[in-house]
Symmetry: C2
Subunit: 160 residues, 2 copies
C-alpha cells in the first residue's frame, strides 16, 4: 500500500511539471517560442524539441516501448541549438510534444509499483546488482527535475 502511494507521489510530481510546461507553451506564440530564452542561450523551440526528445526516449529507457522520434533525439539532444539540422516546425513540435507526453503518461501510470524498483534498460544486471538505487524511479525523478530546469528557463520567454 505505502509503496504504491510513494510511486503515485512521484508520478504526481511529474504530471505537475508537465502541466506547468503545457500551460506555458500554450501561452506563448510561435514567435515567442522561437526567441532565445536569454541572450545567446537556447531558443524556446529548441528546448521544446529537447524536452520532447528526452521524454520520447524515456519509453525505451523505462522499457515501455520503442521511442517514436529518434530523429528528434539526434537534432535536439545529440546536437545543440542552431545546428543547421532539419527540424520540425514550431507547430509540428507543439503536436509532437503533446503526443509524446500523452503516450508516455498512459504507459507510466499503468506500470505496477514493483516495476519502478527494477533496473532501467540502460543498465546491465551486473551494474544494477551493485547499485539498486539506479532503478526506473530514479530515471523518473531525474527527468522530472530536468523538465523543471528547462521550464525555469522557458518562462523567460513570457513578456514581463
Amino acid at each position: 500500500m505505502s509503496k504504491e502511494l510513494l510511486v503515485k507521489i512521484a508520478l504526481n510530481s511529474w504530471e505537475i511539471q508537465i502541466k506547468r510546461t503545457d500551460q506555458l507553451v500554450a501561452e506563448l506564440t510561435d514567435e515567442q517560442l522561437a526567441q532565445e530564452v536569454a541572450p545567446g542561450r537556447n531558443s524556446g523551440t529548441y528546448l521544446l524539441g529537447h524536452l520532447a526528445a528526452v521524454h520520447d526516449a524515456m519509453n525505451d529507457i523505462l522499457g515501455l516501448g520503442e521511442s517514436k522520434y529518434p530523429s528528434l533525439y539526434h537534432a535536439f539532444v545529440k546536437h545543440g541549438d542552431k545546428s543547421g539540422l532539419e527540424t520540425p516546425t514550431v507547430q509540428e513540435l507543439r503536436k509532437i510534444w503533446a503526443e509524446v507526453n500523452e503516450d508516455l503518461w498512459n504507459r507510466m501510470k499503468s506500470l505496477p509499483a514493483e516495476e519502478w524498483l527494477k533496473r532501467h534498460t540502460k543498465m546491465t544486471d551486473e551494474d544494477f546488482g551493485k547499485d539498486p538505487e539506479r532503478n526506473k524511479l530514479s530515471v523518473l525523478l531525474n527527468r522530472t527535475n530536468h523538465v523543471s530546469y528547462h521550464l525555469g528557463q522557458m518562462v523567460f520567454l513570457k513578456k514581463k
Copy 2:
C-alpha cells in the same frame, strides 16, 4: 525494504540537485552572483537567498524543527528582488546557504521512511484524510523541482 528504497531515491534526487547548485555557486564570483540571470529578471543573489529561505522553511513544514532564518523568508519569498529590504551580503548568503542545507540534509536523512508518508505541518488532519498524497514526500519532491527550476536560471550567470 522497497519503501525505504523509494524514499532513498527521492533523497538522492534532492542531494544531486543541491550538489549541482553548490557547484555552480562555488564557481561564480560574488560579482557574477549579483548580476541578473537574464535582462530584467532576478539576480543570482536573490535566487540564492530565495532557495536558502525556502529550504530553511522546510524544517518547519516537515516537522523537523524550527526554521532558523525567518527574516530571510520575509526578504526572499514574501518580497521580490530589489525590494529595498535589508539582506545579508553575498558572502553571508553563501554561508547561510551551506549551513541551511547541511542541517536540513542531516535531519531529512534521519527521518524513517514511514514518516515521509505522514502529513506535513501545513495540512490539517481532516484535509490529509481527504488527500493522503499531500504528505512529506510530496513536499520533498516539490522542493527538489523548485531547486532545479531556479538552477536552470542561475546557470545563465556563467560566462559562455
